[in-house]
Subunit: 151 residues, 2 copies
């Protein structure tokens, strides 16, 4: 496969990003690839925030992956800064290619550059393959992730 590039997402990437968000057992019910307006509003808010890093991975100029990295300063652990990875998606054509590893490694490297002491993420309890993937990358499944929907 050709070389991989990782760069900040722009509005022009949204059709490809939203297609990946929707091409997922959990995402299929939650996304609206035919209506990009809510995604455009969200991206405009994200690009203005220096603690937000929404990136795309490109192979031969085609968007094949995405994730969101959020840098969160905090008081606990002697004022430690942590980062949170959300919205990791890999194009179906790229699964097994090592792209997921490269994207997470980018996020970990960027977290170090931002002086984070901890990288966190949560994964739905049903995504067993994803859990093995994160453990192989050195993440520890030390926490229970709770969600409350306000919908």
């Amino acid at each position: 496969m050709g070389d991989l590039a990782i760069r900040p997402a722009t509005a022009a990437d949204l059709p490809a990003i939203v297609a990946m968000l929707a091409d997922d057992p959990l995402g299929a019910r939650r996304e609206s690839p035919d209506d990009l307006a809510p995604y455009e509003r969200a991206l405009a808010r994200l690009v203005d925030d220096p603690n937000q890093h929404v990136v795309v991975a490109l192979r031969e100029e085609r968007v094949v992956g995405t994730l969101q990295l959020t840098v969160i300063p905090g008081l606990s652990r002697r004022g430690a800064t942590r980062s949170i990875i959300e919205g990791v998606r890999i194009h179906a054509d790229e699964r097994g290619s090592g792209l997921g590893t490269q994207l997470i490694e980018w996020a970990v490297d960027e977290s170090r550059r931002q002086d984070c002491q901890l990288v966190q993420l949560t994964s739905d309890a049903t995504r067993v393959d994803a859990h093995r993937f994160y453990e192989r990358l050195g993440f520890e499944a030390s926490h229970v992730g709770f969600k409350l929907s306000l919908g």
Copy 2:
């Protein structure tokens, strides 16, 4: 007990906040109540960020609780904004008083005011009492929380 007030944390609250962070089975190893400088630097960064809400709970003008609420815009779930609760601590004198419930309810209400569709938090797998507490408040333990230390 007297009335409860919840307001943004200031530098003057740091000795009381850090004492609570350190008075905890996990926090005791991680905090430095005798050296507030790293906490002062972190708080200065937090108060400048409109997506960060570090609050203290006061009973008769004494700091008895704290939490950090972070508002995180995102692309997934049709551009949903979520919030993350971190650093929840209740003074030992107040445990069982309902203060934890009031603090989390404040965070949920503030998340609604900020148009969040989802409130998230992770809790160390060993904090079994905390898990029951969050489930009673309507949170669902649907995710596995992964952490990677960069220390």
